[in-house]
């Protein structure tokens, strides 16, 4: 059953990834990318990495891709032909890398042994889900970076306003 899911998700990922670069309309490419992100998230769920799956959907599908779509729509790119001339080169590079990966996999062999885990607070507890574990670690061991990140958000917010806000209406406030 898990194998069937794996082949479904990975098949769709490969297909949509090819479509992202092969389609001529940038909007279609972006939508293919969106479908790919969702299936990568599905792959994470089958690997019991629920947190990663949620982050994948919220951050990549939810935020980054919407940004891509905004840019494509704002620039009003209908068809992009410039990069399709590079197709042979891209195919060559892709095949080379694929061969390398396959050779590594065949030569080293697939191992069913679990990877050596690093000790410390990052280790997921099997009984509780990994989302709980990450949350717990984030609010205890890694509280300091977490708090500093909140300050980074504040400075980024103010910085974005300072750099990007239009001049209209400001003159009256500041003069």
């Amino acid at each position: 059953m898990a194998l069937a899911f794996f082949f479904y998700f990975s098949g769709v990922i490969v297909l949509t990834s090819v479509l992202v670069v092969a389609l001529r309309n940038p909007i279609y490419s972006a939508i293919s990318l969106l479908i790919m992100f969702f299936h990568v998230a599905g792959l994470y769920v089958t690997l019991h990495a629920e947190f990663l799956a949620a982050v994948q959907i919220i951050v990549y599908a939810g935020a980054i891709l919407v940004l891509y779509l905004f840019v494509v729509m704002l620039l009003n790119v209908k068809r992009e032909e410039r990069y399709h001339a590079q197709f042979p080169l891209a195919a060559l590079l892709g095949v080379t890398i694929l061969t390398e990966v396959l050779m590594l996999a065949i030569l080293r062999g697939f191992s069913s042994e679990p990877l050596p885990t690093l000790g410390g607070a990052g280790q997921a507890d099997q009984a509780t889900g990994n989302t709980e574990t990450i949350g717990e670690v984030l609010y205890s061991t890694y509280l300091f970076p977490f708090e500093v990140a909140s300050l980074i958000l504040l400075v980024a917010m103010i910085g974005a306003i300072v750099l990007a806000k239009k001049d209209i209406g400001l003159a009256s406030r500041n003069q």
């Binding site: 717990e136 980074i152 306003i161």
Partner: protein, 499 residues
């Protein structure tokens, strides 16, 4: 499920200076928003007041010997961290004082300027306390974020925008390098805290990781070959921001470099000494030689800053506790001399709207005070006795001699001669050349105050350096057992507040 925060209220007191500053910068932001009619200079004094409170707090920590670690060793308060925090807070207060006139040039968001300066200062205070690679990454990015905005603050000015963009793109690239280096080190050792990494055997991945981290920190301090952003960014940025960039982030990055090289990599010293010697020689020579050709005083100070970093790296190349002391003392002298020189540049720039060295012709006739101050600061930067820079250079060279680094010593001495040449060109223009315009220059009170503080610092550190040397020596006590592989930043027996 267990939730264990293992932190008490008294532990949180270790964070008091940072918390104070966080609250204060929010107050500055709210006051700016709530009282739009308030003169912006008041906001500057409000910020300086907050920094004074933080400074008092830090001095109290220093006197009472407060030490301890928080958040599973990620955040450390020791003498070294307190030293660098005091350095950063003084630099920030001086920068805010010299900004008061300059801020009138901004068309918009004058109040947010002070907020962003304080925010960067907060980031750098965190950097001084960063005791593991994760907090190094996040605090370094935090302090740089404010600078990205500050460098591009003159929105109508093309040079400022260009400077901001260059700084941002290179800065983001360097953040990538840093993250990659940290991931390699973590992958090799499974540890992030500096003192834990010390025990790890040197593998290829670990060495590449540390080289990448050194590259990222080298970018922050502006050492050759990571200096390419410095001239354009220093030139285009608003001058007070340039002044801030030229000392505070360097200090904070040196805090991290000292912890990394003298604690984590202490056992690998023979391997990295050559790296330090190379980077130091390159920075000194390149900075000084290129500075000769500069026509713009900001660019001149930018290149002289690169050369000064080369000098400071001599201390790291020595790699001893004494080298560490020398770095701390040198940074202290550099703080006053460099900020003072920039304060004069800002004062002159505000009045004659030019940063070209040509326009310093006959400054002595127009404002004897500014010319005299500039003379003192430039001579201190060059290392002329009895000014602070002389003691700083002497200290760092003695540390190098003790380790037998004679090549560095020779190159350093040659470079002092080269640097003397271009500093004295500015002095000659100020004192001997005839001015084209003879109108006297008037200086505002906050500017005068900042210049007086810098003058006092430069003279006192040069004439009576003993208490400051003692302070630097006590700040680096933790490195005295640095040859032991498990050198701990703070001995585990030490309890916060000496209790």
């Amino acid at each position: 499920m267990t939730f264990n925060l293992s932190m008490s209220g008294s532990d949180l007191l270790l964070l008091l200076p940072e918390m104070l500053l966080t609250v204060w910068l929010c107050v500055v932001l709210i006051v700016d928003f709530a009282m739009p009619r308030l003169p912006k200079a008041r906001l500057a004094y409000l910020s300086v007041g907050g920094l004074a409170a933080v400074l008092l707090n830090l001095l109290w920590f220093d006197r009472t010997g407060v030490t301890g670690t928080l958040f599973a060793d990620m955040f450390v308060v020791d003498r070294l961290a307190i030293f660098f925090k005091i350095l950063i807070v003084i630099a920030t207060a001086l920068v805010i004082l010299v900004s008061v006139d300059y801020v009138r040039r901004f068309r918009f968001f004058k109040g947010e300027y002070y907020f962003l300066v304080l925010m960067s200062a907060l980031g750098m205070m965190f950097m001084a306390s960063a005791n593991d690679l994760l907090s190094v990454f996040i605090t370094l990015e935090f302090s740089t974020f404010g600078f990205y905005v500050l460098v591009a603050y003159l929105r109508e000015d093309v040079a400022s925008n260009e400077a901001g963009l260059k700084f941002f793109i290179l800065g983001v690239f360097v953040a990538g390098l840093l993250a990659y280096g940290i991931s390699l080190v973590f992958g090799e050792t499974g540890k992030l805290v500096f003192s834990d990494i010390a025990a790890a055997p040197p593998t290829t991945g670990l060495i590449i990781g540390f080289l990448l981290i050194f590259g990222a920190l080298g970018f922050k301090i502006g050492a050759v070959p990571f200096h390419s952003w410095i001239p354009d960014t220093y030139h285009g940025a608003p001058t007070p921001v340039t002044a801030f960039l030229s000392i505070a982030p360097k200090g904070a990055a040196f805090a991290i470099l000292l912890r990394m090289f003298l604690v984590s990599l202490a056992t690998l010293k023979p391997a990295w000494v050559l790296l330090m010697v190379g980077v130091s020689i390159l920075s000194m020579t390149y900075g000084n030689v290129v500075a000769i050709a500069q026509k713009n005083i900001k660019r001149l100070l930018a290149y002289s800053g690169i050369a000064q970093v080369g000098n400071i790296l001599i201390g790291l190349a020595a790699g001893t506790k004494m080298g560490g002391d020398a770095i701390l003392f040198y940074l202290l002298t550099h703080l006053f001399a460099n900020l003072g020189a920039f304060a004069v540049v800002i004062a002159v720039g505000n009045l004659i709207r030019s940063d070209e060295i040509e326009d310093y012709n006959g400054l002595n006739r127009r404002s004897p005070f500014l010319a005299m101050a500039m003379l003192v600061f430039l001579l201190s930067l060059a290392g002329v006795p009895p000014l602070a820079g002389f003691i700083g250079k002497l200290y760092i060279f003695v540390a190098a001699i003790n380790e037998g680094l004679y090549t560095l010593l020779v190159v350093g001495l040659i470079n002092i001669v080269i640097s003397m040449y271009y500093y004295l060109i500015v002095v000659k223009k100020m004192y001997i050349n005839e001015p084209t315009d003879r109108t006297p220059l008037a200086i505002s009170t906050p500017m005068k105050a900042a210049i007086y503080v810098c003058l006092a610092g430069t003279l006192i550190l040069g004439i009576y350096p003993q208490p400051f040397i003692d302070w630097a020596v006590s700040a680096t006590l933790m490195f005295s057992q640095f040859t032991a592989p498990a050198a701990l930043a703070v001995p585990p027996t030490m309890v916060p507040f000496g209790g």
